[in-house]
Each structure stands twice: as C-alpha cells, then as structure tokens.
C-alpha cells in the first residue's frame, strides 16, 4: 500500500469527475465535510441571480414569479429523492433543532397516554436538549438509551424513539431497519436524525417505515453554512401530525389571513415562518452537485476511503497509540473514521497547520469525515502520511497547537 495504490484508485474512480463541481483550494485536504461541506461551483451564479434579478429587480413579485413560495417543498422533494422518500413528505426550512422540536412533539402527541420519550445519550447534544424540551412541554419522561441497547427499554409506555442514524463521534451506523421494526412492534413511533447520513450513504426512509426524520443540509449536502434543515413526515401521518409551531406558512390557506390556524393537509403544514431564501436558493443550487450521481456509488467510494484510513491506521500507525473507534464492518460504518489517541486536540491542530482539516471531539478523538464527491484517494493518502509525521516526529507537542480557541 503506497501513494501509487491511492492514485490508481483515483484513476478508476467513477466519481472523479465530481470534484470539479466544487471550488476547493489547492494544498488543502478537507476532511471536515461532515461539519461543513465544500462549496459547489453552482452556488455563486445562483446567488448572483437571486440577488440581482430575483430580489433587486423582481422584488416582491418573486414570491410568484420566481417560485419562492414553492421552494421549501421543491427542495424537500429533491432531498426526498436522496433519502428514499416519495414526493410530498419532506419540507426544507428552519434548523435541525427547530425541526426536532416540531417532529418530536408531533410524534409524542400521536401516542397519547404513553409517558416516555427515548433518545440517545451519546447523540449530538441538541438532539438531547430538544428531547428534554419536548418532554417537559408534554409532561413526558425522557430516557437516554444507546441504540444498540434499545430492546429492554421498549415498553408500552414509550411514545417515541429518536436516534441519529450515525453516531456523530464514532461514526457508527446503527441498524435502522432493526431498530425501526422493534420500535413499531412496541407501538411507538420512530424519528431518525439524518444529519450525518444524508448525502453520504443510501437511506431508505419509506422502506424502513420511519415515521419522522430530520436532517441538516450543510454537511454532506454542501448547502452552505447554516443552510436550512429538512423535516420528513411519513405520508400516513400527514393529516394528523400535530405540530407545535403553527406559523402562517403552514396554514391550509395562508393568504386568507384567517384568525385561526388550520394546518395544511400536506407536508406544507411543517412550514413555519418566512424561510431564509438566500440560504435556501444557495442550497437548491448546491444540490446540483449530486446531478447524475447514484447514492450507491457514493457509498462505495465512502467505504473505500474509510477502508483506506483504517488499513493505514492498522499498519502504519500501529506504534503511535492510535486506535480505530469506528466500526470495521461496512454495514455499521458511516462516512467518517474516528481515531482515538492521546493529544488528539494537538494532533488535529498540527494537521490543520499542514493543510489537513479534520476535527477534534473531546476527550481523545480525531474525527475525519469523507465526502466522496470531492475527495481524492491520493489526497487522503497524503493526509495519512501527514498524520504519521505529526505523530512520529512529535510535531503535535509544539506549544502553539495546545492553544484552545473559543469555538472548536
């Protein structure tokens, strides 16, 4: 295994063409696309049009003339096609946190008399915070359970279960089919958080029978910083999902300007207020980077990239106190590799100084994310060589790499 091996993988990579769809600086290996995806080249032109033609020239008429009103549903349908959902079940808008509040409340309201909401105590904090917020509002008990230990907790008291499909730290991909089936067997409803899955691996929401899902669009979907999240409501729940944030965009007839809220009978009921259209239009354009790309091809390359990292860690970093935390089994692996090591923070900073951008997760994880559309095998190889150098040459011990910034 050498750089030539990686270069040969690039030469035969069916997704190699897609890198040119992104604006990426030379000399950077970007392994944090699971936090913020790179910028598709389709975005600047679209935003220029959004500013000069749609906003400045067409002004308020753009709501009709340029389809602004339909955008949340139109983007939603584009995302639906990437997560195995039929049309009319996904809406785009607001943040993941807000969408979690919306859909967790709706899920629990569909199971009156049940008093428990289950979330994962290892999931990203906002998932836990919003579960607690919903539990408080509805008078439910929130129980933190690891997805792999769910079985014993699935009593008839459980109203809903909300898990991230991929652990944001370890990269573990959970058994979505098995978990969803077990949740349904207990009579509860299932919500999947797809933040670390959408755009990185195939998701089959309709086939899973998932009831609800949320996800962000600024990671593997490359929608831009803070681009709006999405919400999925299975068709069978569309007319009875009782959402707490009853903004006027979710009304069945918003322009009748009625005094009483009556929800739309469609996925439009999950709209709230006026969405941030410049961010939405950037996202809409960004999704073009997936044009003609099959999610199975993305998955194949994602696994090959993470295989390369794991093989390298096993062979070349064996003496460096580095251990692979991410599952080795393909069916349990997302599109990232978490490496446990002493001084992970300093190692991450030393890598950034070398142009290899990953991130650190306390207390001891170096987390590397792999976006198959724009990463080359040879770049990943170079990043691994840099990692070995940082570790074996003690470079991470330089004092500047121990400085903690306020925001990490």
């Amino acid at each position: 295994m050498d750089r030539g091996f990686a270069a040969r993988l690039d030469a035969s990579d069916p997704l190699a063409f897609a890198r040119d769809r992104f604006e990426l600086a030379d000399g950077i290996v970007y392994l944090d696309g699971n936090s913020l995806g790179a910028m598709p080249r389709s975005v600047p032109g679209a935003l220029s049009d959004a500013m000069h033609r749609q906003w400045a020239a067409d002004l308020i008429t753009s709501w009709n003339a340029n389809g602004w009103w339909e955008l949340p549903g139109r983007i939603g349908d584009r995302i639906a096609a990437m997560i195995g959902a039929g049309e009319g079940q996904v809406i785009c808008g607001d943040s993941t946190s807000v969408q979690l509040f919306q859909l967790l409340t709706a899920a629990c309201r569909l199971r009156p008399g049940r008093s428990v909401l289950i979330t994962d105590g290892n999931s990203f904090p906002t998932d836990q915070y919003l579960a607690d917020a919903v539990g408080r509002m509805l008078g439910l008990t929130v129980v933190r359970v690891h997805p792999n230990n769910l079985g014993e907790y699935l009593t008839e008291d459980v109203a809903a279960v909300a898990f991230s499909m991929v652990d944001y730290r370890t990269g573990e991909l959970f058994d979505a089919a098995g978990i969803t089936a077990a949740v349904h067997d207990s009579g509860a409803l299932m919500l999947w958080d797809l933040c670390h899955a959408v755009g990185a691996l195939p998701v089959a929401l309709d086939d899973l029978g998932s009831d609800f899902a949320v996800g962000c669009t600024y990671k593997y979907l490359n929608g831009g910083p803070g681009s709006p999240a999405f919400a999925y409501i299975a068709a069978r729940h569309l007319t009875n999902a009782d959402l707490p944030l009853t903004g006027w965009h979710g009304h069945r007839a918003p322009f009748d300007l009625e005094q009483q809220f009556e929800p739309s009978a469609t996925i439009e009921r999950a709209r709230i207020g006026t969405p941030p259209l410049l961010s939405m239009l950037a996202l809409d354009a960004a999704l073009d980077a997936f044009g003609g790309v099959d999610m199975a091809a993305i998955r194949t390359k994602s696994l090959a990239l993470t295989d390369l990292v794991i093989m390298y860690a096993d062979s070349e970093l064996a003496g460096c106190e580095v251990s692979v935390v991410t599952p080795r089994a393909h069916e349990r692996r997302g599109s990232q590799v978490a490496l446990r090591m002493p001084h992970a923070y300093e190692v991450c900073q030393a890598l950034i100084a070398r142009g290899v951008i990953g991130d650190f997760r306390a207390p001891d994880l170096l987390r590397l994310g792999f976006a198959p559309l724009y990463l080359r095998y040879a770049d990943v190889w170079d990043a691994l060589v840099a990692l070995r150098a940082v570790l074996t040459e003690g470079e991470f011990r330089r004092p500047e790499f121990a400085v903690r910034s306020a925001v990490t």
Copy 2:
C-alpha cells in the same frame, strides 16, 4: 400641489443621498418595501466574499476566523441601536414566528398562576397563531383584544400582552408607551412585534420598559428575502427567561457538548440551532445602508411622504370612492398608507402593470408602504398620478387585472 412641489422636496431631502445605496430598476416605484425591502448595493460584494473566501476557502475555520459564531449577537447589537435598546439584549436568528413562540412562552412562564395571554385579533395571523400555540402548550386562555381597547381586559389574570406596534393593514401606530405602562400596572409583561416599525420609525424599547420584542429584518431593514428575525429580551429578564427551544447554540458552554441544557446567562440563550449564515451575512451587509442615517430623519421623511399621499387622496381622489384608513395624526401613523376603495385588488394589479408596486389587503385595501431611504417624493407623486388614472379611466376594469394568483 404638483410634481414641482414633490421635486422641490427631493431637492431639499437630507436623505436623498441614500437612494444610491440601493439597486433599483428605473421605471419602478416600489411601495412594498414594508413587505420586502429593496436590495442595498452593499450586499452582493459581501455575499461574494462570504461564498468564495469564507465558505470555499476558509471552510470550517470560518466559525472562528470570520466570526460566524458571534454573528447573531453582533447583528443583534446593530439592530438594538436602531430600536432604542442597549447592547446585549438583541439576538438575530430564526423567523418571527419562531421568535414569537420563544418569547411568548418565556413571558408567560415569568407569570405563573396567571391564565390569560392577550393578542390583537387584527394583527398579522402568525402573531395570533403562535399566541394560540403558546396558550395551548401552557394551558392559558388566549384573548383577542384591540390595542386601543386594552384597559378593560387588564385583570390580574393576564400573564402577558403581545401586540404589533403598527397595524399591518391600516398602518395605525399604537400608543406603545401608554400600553406598556398599563400592562405593567396590571402586573403583566409586554411583548412588542416590531415587524412594521423597525427601520421605519424610532422605537425606544428600553425607555418604554418593554419586556420582550420581536421583529423581522426583510421589510424596512432590507435584509433580503426571508432574512432572519430578531428577539429582544430586556436585561432584567436575561437570566430568568425560560425559553422553550433549547438548541445547543443557546447553551452556556455549547462546545462542552454536555448532555443537559444549561442556558447562557446572556442574550445568547435565545439562540437555537445553527443560523442560516448566508442570509445573515447578507443582512449584516444590508444594514450598512443605514450608516450615518438618523432614525429621526427617517421618521421626518416617512411622515412627509405619507402626508403627501393623504393630501393627494383628499384632494385629487375625492370623487373616486377612496378613503384614507391610516390615521392622520402623526403620532398614530406608521410608514404606510392604506386606502380603502372598491376593486382594490384590481386597482393594485393595474398599478403594478404601470410599474407602481403596492399591495392589496382583503377585502378592500390598497396598502402603500414608504421606505424613506430609497423613495423619492417625485416618484411617489408619479405613483399617485398613476393611481388617479387607473381609477378615473376605468383601467382597473380590464379583465387581466381580476386574475388572482395563488400567492398574493
């Protein structure tokens, strides 16, 4: 009174210089800046920088390197300066609807044992819908009261009162000082919705003693379509405002990634999830259009513009079944004029065909909004002459102007 009169007002207008700060098409008189403000010329360059340098080049490091993390508070402080609020009390993010849910819940939670939430049955529907949503969540009764009739409803059962400072249809500006004082006398808390006030007239939130406020930024602040809203929490409530949407950005130490939510002790607690940064950066740049402009000068010109419309309606449209709905008293007038007339919808469409863009509010109002930064008196004069022509020549009866679009 003739076009020369208007032109002379332009010649002596101390805000005349500001029009060049906006990209506006020739031949359009834009009287709907109270729905979507025009585009400041400062925006495209800022968004180009946001895309190419901050997103594409600096990537994830922008959260630190380009101050993304601080943006909600930094924009909040800029808005605070425009609404008479000291620093550290305003945060920018999410939609007005979401912010109403947040702050109405916090207000009512600060008055436990009180069972009534008052809103205005004439206010924009989302204000009413979210009041109902909060009432339902907290088990409160929502009572709809006109702001001018509030007195008799202010019992010791009232937890909070939420009014728009300006009626979105009639343009009536309410007695904010008198209402706030009366609400406080009853022991309740006051929330002002500033959507139709911010950027159009001076607001003195701290002096009023207002407890909470929300507002949007895409009207008179010209932040762009759907640009994020803002939330004001008076300093005295910052450590005890108990907000329902406990997203991780509002945590006292978000990067500790703790399992339990602990709110920030500052206005940062009103943050929720990751904000739509491209829309936020556009808004930040758009606010530059107010640079060096005093809100008192804006108010003076706003009143002069609406005076011109009212005088014209009284004198030139006297025989056209047109009546002025907006209060004539300056202290009761926002920055718009609502004209009641038969066939208001068709008249509005006929005006748009002539390049005069206002809007229609059912059943019989033509609503004209006046943004003093970019409107010229002579343009407004031309719009009024066009209105008279549409009315007196029967132009509004042409069948194409009766066609209703899905979105109005």
